[in-house]
């Protein structure tokens, strides 16, 4: 994988071990691994909101929070990050794998 050459560490789930090591180039790489060839403005809106929210609150925002606090309609989120948008967007944003709350 291209990300192997980027000198960053991933956790057991394949998510960035330290979110401070994240940068926009890495996000583009990770997006390609997730099958997203190009990150549009709307992708960046999601990624930037997730990072800001994580840093402020210490938790990866849920799909509902992305809608309510981030203003990102859920339908659109699914088309931006197909098949599991919360997990995919979190990985691209350099955040830990979201925990399905028990």
């Amino acid at each position: 994988m291209a990300t192997e050459t980027m000198n960053v560490t991933f956790d057991a789930d394949g998510y960035l071990a330290d979110h401070n090591e994240w940068n926009e180039d890495l996000a583009r790489e990770l997006a390609r691994e997730e099958g997203i060839e190009e990150l549009t403005d709307m992708h960046w809106k999601v990624i930037n909101f997730m990072r800001k929210d994580y840093i402020e609150n210490g938790a990866v925002p849920t799909i509902r929070r992305l809608k309510k606090a981030g203003g990102i309609p859920t339908k659109e989120l699914y088309s931006l990050f197909p098949d599991g948008p919360a997990k995919k967007a979190a990985r691209i944003a350099g955040l830990p794998k979201p925990k399905g709350c028990v």
Binding site: A69, T74, Y78, V102
Partner: protein, 409 residues
């Protein structure tokens, strides 16, 4: 006279009233409990009602019978909590001032959060089993159902008692077999999660169970709407699933008063310190049970474990001592697996459910992450323990903190 107010007389609020009332000096502290509903429901029993194992009478008792005589009970809805002014406005017009507030307002289902859920099919061929109304309506429907495709769908996480939907399909498999109907029923478990359950090892184990019982599993399904005219559920990414009978676990949310008071997150759950149970933004407010935003299970066993930690912390707060960060997310759940058997899981914030033995003085050990008859009896025995010990705040032979004894890594 100082004032302690407890909002909610469900499992968590009732336990706290019973623990604190005998200990706080009556000359110094006045305890008020507020709730709008006279009836206490044994909510773990709702699961069994659709299959005729319990009826309504088995799961209801008057709330007053379970509260200590030393507390004042006010029957009213809550209009607004004003944490900056240390007071609570009630729907009956009364204003309660407090020195210390415990919020235990729980969580409830909100089917109206999903488009189309409450259209034509609601309680006709779409049911919940998280309310007394839903579970009894489903019992009546199942009595005369001749078979078809039953879809059990979790709308979104978190939900109260996250193992209940799995227990429901296990019990349904057993019940349809007993009725001689199993070969006419398809059971499909449709979840937004990537597996049968959230924690990896338990998810694998329980997923294998679904397989063994001939229950199909659809993962990563984020429901957008119900088309109750066509009997279909449709996901945000336009996948569609047909049903004849839809059993839904709708969005769970904290009480509306939390939203009105500006104290909650986007699901009206209150930001709470995960270890001390103090509200994040207010030092004289504590939160327990389903009302918190914590990543622990929303379940009675959790409220019970929290109550032990919170009891100590309330006394420490009153004595101006530092709070103990002792709550570890401990949950202990009997999972009914059908045919008179059950599975036990025991876990916390950091340790996922592991196999092994669960030592219980005088009764146990119970087997962990393994199907046994004894675990089923544990589950059945729990109802007696709930009414007679747990609600009264009595000491149970289980520690508040999870223990690794008996568990295999």
């Amino acid at each position: 006279m100082k004032k302690l107010v407890i909002l909610g007389a469900g499992t968590a609020g009732t336990i706290m009233a019973n623990r604190l009332s005998p200990v706080l000096d009556k000359g110094e502290w006045h305890i008020t409990v507020v709730d709008k509903d006279e009836t206490h429901y044994y909510q773990p029993g709702f699961l069994f009602i659709p299959f005729g194992v319990y009826n309504q009478q088995d799961v209801i008792k008057p709330k007053r019978d379970y509260l200590p005589s030393g507390v004042e009970l006010v029957m009213s809805g809550i209009e607004l909590i004003e944490p900056e002014r240390n007071r609570v406005k009630l729907e009956n017009g009364k204003v309660l001032e407090y020195d210390l507030l415990i919020i235990a307002t729980g969580s409830r289902i909100h089917p109206e959060e999903t488009e189309g859920m409450k259209d034509g099919g609601w309680h006709k061929n779409i049911f919940d089993f998280y309310t007394i109304e839903g579970s009894t309506a489903l019992a009546n429907y199942l009595k005369y159902w001749e078979g078809g495709k039953m879809v059990v769908n979790i709308v979104e996480m978190p939900i109260k008692c996250p193992v209940a939907p799995l227990e429901f399909v296990f019990l349904a498999d057993w019940w349809f077999t007993e009725q001689g109907l199993r070969n006419k029923v398809d059971i499909e478990f449709v979840t937004p999660l990537p597996g049968a359950f959230t924690k990896p090892r338990a998810s694998k184990y329980l997923g294998d169970f679904l397989d063994k019982k001939g229950i199909s599993l659809v993962t990563d399904f984020g429901i957008e709407r119900v088309d109750s005219g066509a009997n279909k559920i449709i996901s945000y990414d336009d996948k569609s699933i047909d049903y004849d009978l839809l059993v839904t676990i709708p969005t769970n949310m904290g009480d509306e008063v939390i939203e009105r008071s500006g104290m909650g997150d986007e699901l009206n759950f209150i930001p709470t310190d995960p270890n001390t149970l103090q509200a994040k933004n207010y030092e004289n407010i504590f939160v327990l049970g389903d009302a918190t935003n914590l990543p622990s299970s929303k379940a009675g066993s959790v409220a019970h474990f929290q109550s032990e930690v919170l009891f100590e912390n309330i006394l420490r707060f009153i004595d101006k001592r530092p709070l103990l960060p002792e709550f570890d997310g401990h949950a202990n759940c009997f999972i009914e697996s059908g045919f008179g058997k059950g599975i036990l899981i025991d876990f916390n914030y950091d340790v996922e459910p592991l196999p092994g033995k669960f030592p219980l003085p005088g009764v146990g050990p119970f087997s962990l992450l393994e199907e046994t008859r004894m675990n089923h009896w544990g589950k059945m025995m729990f109802r007696w323990m709930y009414w007679n010990l747990l609600l009264k705040g009595a000491e149970l032979p289980i520690q508040a903190q999870m223990n690794m004894a008996g568990k295999r890594q």
